[in-house]
Symmetry: C2
Subunit: 127 residues, 2 copies
DNA sequence: TGATTATTTGCGAATTTGTGCAAACATGCT
DNA sequence: AGCATGTTTGCACAAATTCGCAAATAATCA
């Protein structure tokens, strides 16, 4: 069933942990991406109302979008008086993306080496 | 309407180009992520039927999932006889993720510097 | 040619998602 | 307290997504 022996389980489980559907789910909507871009260039906390000006969505929809981005770890929220300040968790998002990139390439490297050890033809054209 | 002067347009448009909804759309489904993980550890081209064994989805659904991943640039396909060999474009995916991470942090750095030049309080708690 | 295998496509059903509106909730102000 | 402002939540509805099945397409083999 598996293509490689058990030793490569580590890199595979590491990769699986990085492949969080919630993150991509949060980032797959055009309006939410517009919001993310807005936060990235605003470079300061924005209220729901402020953030909402960048996409033509009703404020209630903006509220839901921001909540989803927060739950995915993309944004951080702090309540200040009656308004909520959302802020891009730039470091967290960037490092999550880099960790996923690393996990992908590590998985390939490890599995590739093991395939060679086994004396098989290796990795198709990507090796 | 914008928070910063025109000089920061470069990093913002660069970020917008990296924020492709199609990529995240392709990666937001659990079954498609299972397929991606399968390709990453298989480390060689897989046919539609081979790939499909990892998720309990009908072969026609697998075919559609793989096509979507291919259109998003995650997989590459080559037809060989009557079967189609799909392969993870590991380098392309990893570099796309890293470029997005870079664009995010660059956008923050540039906009952050400009905000300071303008003498305003800078960037909230993330600066 | 006909039979078999691999993949894709059309279709309909079930589910999820994005949305606006109205109401509720929370906070601050007079 | 009453009123205004900012945000969230319930609800309904349209659009999109996922899925399995069956039929169509493509390629191999007898």
């Amino acid at each position: 069933m598996n293509d490689l022996p058990a030793q490569s389980d580590d890199c595979r489980t590491a990769l699986r942990e990085q492949l969080r559907p919630e993150l991509f789910r949060a980032l797959c909507d055009p309006n939410r991406l517009t919001l993310v871009a807005r936060f990235a260039s605003a470079n300061r906390p924005l209220t729901v109302t402020e953030a909402g000006t960048c996409c033509g969505v009703h404020i209630s929809g903006v509220s839901r979008h921001l909540a989803m981005l927060r739950e995915a770890g993309v944004l951080q929220a702090t309540k200040q008086g009656r308004e909520v300040r959302y802020e891009l968790d730039c470091g967290a998002l960037a490092s999550a993306l880099r960790q996923l990139a690393d996990a992908l390439e590590n998985c390939r490297a490890v599995c590739c080496a093991q395939t060679e050890e086994m004396g098989n033809e290796c990795c198709g054209s990507n090796c």
